[in-house]
Symmetry: C2
Subunit: 185 residues, 2 copies
DNA sequence: TAACATGCATACTAGTTGGTATGTTAGCAG
DNA sequence: CTGCTAACATACCAACTAGTATGCATGTTA
């Protein structure tokens, strides 16, 4: 499944070559089709397990019981890799949802769930921060979380295309600045 | 080329079926390969002509010699279709750059040029607005233009995946609100 | 220990699709 | 009327790739 994830991240799901995945994993078709009904089932499993796990490790868990969600969010944003090969591949969740959500309802539902988990983790942390008086009370946590996701993913898209590290740097500054503006005065 | 654009918008470039394009256009392979060397050349032409033309009509031309760029930008954002089938297909430029920019330098350069034209149109209009004292002088036109593109494209991505018109509505409110905050007091 | 299940590997099939080779027609020059 | 070219149409090929049929080795159970 790691091999499948890597190949899907490189080539997208539809252009992911099963033989390439199998070669990378060091197994053959027999092994694959013993464990998965078809290519689609393998793709679903990659979303449900690999991509979901990455997302939770990076965004959800650090926000759980965070003392100050603003500090945590800024740290996550600032820790994003600016290396060319990372920027060039983009965000696995975004790549996959962008490719498949209009074509396959199974993929759409799965990626939508991950976006929702991501959103809820941020919105929940912001609401908790409001209770603790470290986040401004005049902002809507849900809308703010959606906005942060949109702005961040937008910069990831532009960075992937421009291949200029300054694009993502600008994104880090801008998004961090916006998060910082959510602090109580 | 309209047929090619539509098929590419539906299925992406790599999964665009030449036979489907030809059937839609009412011509055959002979006609296609008389005018284009290969599928790649057709794709390049679609970017250079169809997608570029759409972008110019929607964003670049309205900003040229605009009295107040802020009013123009808000009007463009607010005029975005919220119909399910439109939201579901997403932005042609974003779809294509997202799919191909990591795989084919020709596509990457072409989509990067369109992003640049889009960016320059907004940044130029903002700078002109600053001269005319209708746009705040304390903002960086280039960074602001990049931010607006990122946020807007981000909402397009989320809307395409969620298939909930409220996502794009929220995006319109947020982005319009941010554009509005650029006015001089 | 015979029978069976698990967990693969190997070889093959069938459908899809980009690309090509060749045929055909309309129009124009001379 | 002849010769030629532009602009296609038709039929076909070859590569790629998801999926399948079958074989086989290693446990495991009755």
């Amino acid at each position: 499944m790691r091999a499948a994830f890597q190949e899907m991240h490189r080539s997208g799901f539809r252009n992911a070559d099963l033989d390439a995945i199998l070669a990378r994993a060091g197994v053959t078709k027999g092994a694959l089709y013993y464990h998965f009904d078809n290519k689609e089932a393998l793709g679903y499993a990659v979303v449900d397990e690999v991509i979901a796990s990455n997302l939770y490790q990076k965004w959800v868990q650090p926000l759980r019981n965070a003392k100050n969600p603003i500090d945590v969010l800024i740290r996550i944003v600032q820790s994003e890799s600016l290396k060319r090969e990372d920027v060039q591949r983009g965000c696995p969740l975004l790549n996959l949802s962008q490719e498949m959500s209009g074509l396959d309802e199974g993929f759409r539902r799965r990626t939508a769930k991950l976006y929702k988990d991501w959103h809820d983790a941020m919105a929940g942390a912001l609401r908790e921060g409001q209770k603790r008086r470290v986040v401004r009370s005049d902002i809507n946590a849900n809308e703010t979380a959606t906005f942060l996701m949109a702005a961040w993913e937008g910069y990831v898209v532009l960075g992937k295309n421009s291949q200029d590290p300054r694009t993502m740097q600008s994104g880090q500054r801008r998004v961090s600045g916006h998060i910082n503006s959510l602090r109580t005065a």
